[in-house]
Each structure stands twice: as C-alpha cells, then as structure tokens.
C-alpha cells in the first residue's frame, strides 16, 4: 500500500509544476507578443525553430524575463543548454532546479 503522505506530497509538487508551466508559458507569450494563448503551447514541442518558431532573439528575450522573474541565469556553455529550450517542460524543469526566487 502506498504512503498517503508521500503521494499527497507528490501530487502537490505536480500541481506546483503545472502552475509554474502555465506561468512560464504566460511569460513567454507576453514577452514575445505571440498570438497564441499560453495554454496552446504544447509542453513537449520544441520552442526553438520548427515547433513554436522562436529564434535566437526570442531566446535572449526569454532568458531576460526568466532571470528577472526567477533569478535564473541561463548559460550556453553548460551541458544542459541544448535541452533547456528543447521544450516548455524542459525550460520549466531547469527553472525549478535553479531558481533563486
């Protein structure tokens, strides 16, 4: 039988993650003036290039917003770089792991 406290913790963490995902999607849409609603950004589709169609200036823009909002400085020379903008979910995971505010 599963531990009810642990599963409660897990579901609350999952809810927080969903809330953060929605929040980051909203920040992206707002910062870039995209004509999609935050909910339309599929969490697992690429942000860069073919998926949402963002380019390097957008990425710089998002980096700026993310640093202001969460105190996370994105780095290209870290090994994680290729993955950070792989999808909304990966960006949110990175923020969760590195946020200072």
């Amino acid at each position: 039988m599963s531990d009810p406290v642990a599963s409660l913790r897990q579901s609350s963490a999952a809810a927080q993650l969903d809330a953060l995902t929605a929040e980051v999607a909203g920040l992206i849409v707002q910062a870039l003036n995209l004509e999609v609603s935050p909910a339309e950004i599929a969490p697992d589709r690429p942000l860069y290039g073919e998926g949402l169609g963002l380019d390097s200036i957008d990425i710089l823009e998002i980096a700026l917003v993310v640093s202001k909002q969460y105190g996370v400085q994105l780095r290209a020379d870290s090994e994680e770089n290729g993955r950070i903008f792989g999808s909304l979910r990966q960006l949110v995971d990175y923020i969760t792991a590195h946020r200072t505010k």
């Binding site: 004509e35 073919e50 169609g53 200036i57 710089l60 980096a63 202001k68 105190g71 400085q73 780095r75």
Partner: protein, 440 residues
C-alpha cells in the same frame, strides 16, 4: 598572441601552422564558403583561403536558400563548417577536430615566417540580400580592408604597444564582425576570442576570463540584455556597438555601469565601417579619411577612401562639416532586425516564390511591439487559400533568416493594390488592423 580560447592563449606559431595545414588540406576549389561559428576557426579558414589563392564567401545567413544562391554565385565553392550537419548539397569540409595541425602540435617549431599577401588580392565576397531575390556580391580586397582596420585602431586608441583582447557577440561573417572582431585584432597585434557568447551570463563569464585591457564588440540587443539581466558586470575597457540604432540612454547606461567608454560604428555591407562617434559626447559621426558622402534626395552616395565602389546608402544624412555628419533615419525598404539586414523587396520576392502563395507583402507594422531587447519585427499579409500558417512558415524558414518571419502573419482574401498595382503602406496597415492575426 593571436587569440584566446576559454581564457587560454593561442600563439602566432600555432596560428600560422594551423593556417598552412588547413590550406594544404583544401580540396580543389577556388572559393571557400566560411560558415565556421568559432571565431578562431573562422579566422584560420579565412587566412588559409587567402594564403592558398582562394577567395572566401561570407554567407549573410545560413538559410538553405541563401546557401543555394551562393553556390550558384561560385559553383565550386567549398562549405567550411565547424558544426555537424550537411553542406546543403555543397561539397563540405568540417574544420578538423583538434585543429588542422592536430592537438599535439608541439616540439620544435619552425621560425616564424609571416606570409606576404598582395594588397590587391580579394580576401572575401560579402553579400547583401538585394531586392530582386538574389544576393548581391561585394568584393573586398585585402589591402583596403587592412587599411580600414588600421585606421580603426587609430580612431579607437588601440594602436600603442598595449595588447588588447577583443570579445564579440556578433558573427564574424558580417562586415561589422569581420572588421571589428577578426581583422582589427589581426592587423594591429591584438587578440581575438574564439568564443561567441550568447546569454548575458556567458558574456560576463567570457569577459572575466580575459586579460585587460579588453574590449567588447556588440550590438544594442546584446547590450540591452546584458544590462537588464542582473548579472555582475565585469570591467571592460572599451565597448563597440553597431548594427542597429543605439539610444543615447542605453549608451549612457552602458558607459556608467561598465565604467567605460562606448563607441558606435556606422557602416554598411557595401562600404564597411565609415564613421564612428561616442554617442554620450556627440550626435555627430566622424568619417574615415578619404570617404565622402553626397546626399541625393532621400538617400546618400558614399565613395572614396577604402570604399571599393560608389555606394548608394539607404540612409538620410546631413553633412555638418567636411568629415562629419548627422544621421536622420533610414529609407523604409530596409529591414534591420537585431543587426540582420534584408529589404522588404527581398522578403516579398521570397514570399511570392512559395508555391501556393498568390500574392503577399511584408511591411513595417504601425505600432510595433517592442520587447525588452528593443527588437521590432516585420509583419506580412498573404493571399494563399491552399496553405495554412504552419506550412507557409515552414516554407519561409527555408528561404529567409528566422528573424524576418512575419509577426503577425495575416491571411487575407486579397491585397489592397491600387490601380497601378502598388500597395500603399497605409492600406496594408488598415487591412492588417481588420484582419484576424494568425500566430507566427
């Protein structure tokens, strides 16, 4: 000292060995399309091409259509790259891992023998996007380019015995990057940096690793991101800025927070750099010696000095002295997004060449959305009943740099052409105001 990589120096003998080894390994060809992202690799490729009697082609973007067009310009071009990926049908050579001379290029080095190059030799062709759909080539001779960056060193006070290191956030394939981040250090005994840092934290970390005095070659977009990011800003002895209009406010903030001076460069692909100013001191630009500007209606002719051929500049200028001028704005066909240049004519040509597009036009939107980095985009109206936004954008991405993808992209039933077939900007804008935008 020629360069730094990750804070470690690369010395002249290593550079010359790398250049000679790479020159020997080129297959038969007369042109080298240099797509290297690493600035040291790019520089070795450029010098190796020159040394072996080849001419470099510097692609303004790496969009597949652009590479095909450059291949049509020089059919035997070799695509030199330091990243994995195909040459888009061109013969391709990957910059050797570990360097052309191998990673263990030590032991007894031969005496340094610096090759002598004929000044009249072409170093490279650079390209503008043109307005007819084909990129226009501009030949750049070795001697004129070197003369131009020696003058730059005098203008920037970089010509005494002090060795500077120069870090750049711009690619080496564009004129500003070629001059300020590759040729300026090479021709004046300063060191370039292999890295091209992107995020503010990367720029700060890369600067931190370099010995002083050090200079940052950048753009308004990168400076604004750097200043707005909250990263600790390291000491910099000089900032150069170009590619797009820089506000007086941003210039002043950069000088204050970096405790430095910021100089702004004015130039174009056709002419290279031709003027400089310190925006916090004066609005006037000082011309390079020998260059003259002649206002001609709404635009300007530039000639003389290091300029290869008289050039029609897409800017409205006012001469304020024999070698000084004020800049009053740009002719509206020109598109400059974060330093990447194109023209509405070129973008329209590419849009209308897509199967399924019946008519279409790019334009500058009336109330552009300006972002934190200060970038504004172009919009487009298109008549393409058989296409959806995703398919159209995929086709456009094949043809033009992603920064020019339209925002918004509006699907309409027809364009408001007048009786002569022209599209007044005001009609396009009012059409756009009514149309339902489609996400881009």
């Amino acid at each position: 000292m020629v360069a730094y990589r990750a804070g470690a120096p690369i010395l002249v003998p290593q550079f010359l060995n790398d250049v000679r080894a790479l020159a020997r390994s080129f297959p038969p060809c007369t042109h080298v399309l240099n797509g290297c992202a690493d600035r040291y690799h790019f520089t070795v490729g450029l010098a190796a091409a020159l040394l072996s009697g080849r001419v470099s082609l510097l692609p303004p973007s790496q969009a597949p259509q652009m590479l095909r067009q450059l291949a049509a310009f020089a059919s035997d071009a070799l695509w030199l790259t330091d990243e994995s990926g195909s040459g888009n049908g061109l013969p391709c050579m990957t910059y050797p891992r570990g360097g052309p001379t191998g990673s263990a290029a030590q032991g007894a080095s031969p005496p340094i023998e610096v090759p002598q190059i004929d000044e009249a030799r072409p170093l490279a062709y650079v390209f503008t996007s043109g307005s007819t759909g084909s990129p226009l080539p501009y030949r750049k001779s070795f001697g004129r380019l070197i003369g131009c960056v020696r003058e730059q060193a005098r203008r920037l006070d970089l010509c005494d015995a002090v060795r500077w290191t120069i870090l750049a956030t711009v690619p080496p394939q564009h004129m500003y990057g070629l001059e300020a981040s590759v040729l300026l250090p090479l021709a004046n005994g300063h060191a370039l940096c292999a890295e091209r840092p992107f995020y503010p934290a990367d720029i700060a970390a890369a600067l931190e690793r370099l010995p002083c005095p050090r200079a940052l070659v950048s753009t308004p977009v990168h400076l604004r991101a750097l200043l707005g990011s909250g990263v600790a800003l390291p000491h910099v002895d000089l900032i150069l800025c170009s590619t797009a209009p820089l506000s007086q406010q941003l210039a002043a903030e950069a000088e204050r927070r970096f405790q430095t001076r910021l100089l702004e460069i004015y130039g174009s692909t056709e002419t290279g750099q031709i003027a400089v100013r310190q925006p916090t001191r004066t609005a006037e630009w000082r011309l390079w010696p020998g260059v003259s500007l002649e206002p001609d209606g709404g635009s300007t002719w530039a000639r003389g000095g290091h300029i290869e051929q008289p050039t029609h500049l897409q800017d409205v200028l006012e001469m304020t002295g024999a070698d000084s001028f004020m800049l009053h704005g740009r002719v509206s066909d020109l598109v400059n997004i974060a330093g990447k240049r194109s023209s509405l004519g070129y973008l329209n040509h590419q849009l209308n060449s897509i199967p399924g597009v019946e008519d279409g036009a790019f334009f500058h939107p009336e109330e552009p959305h300006t972002t934190h980095t200060g970038v504004t985009r172009v919009a487009a109206c298109v008549v393409a009943p058989s296409l959806d936004a995703e398919r159209l954008l995929t086709a456009l991405r094949e043809r033009i740099d992603a920064v020019f993808l339209p925002r918004p992209l509006l699907f309409v039933r027809r364009l408001p052409r007048n009786s002569t077939g022209k599209l007044p900007l005001s009609s396009l804008r009012s059409l756009a105001a009514q149309a339902k935008p489609t996400s881009a």
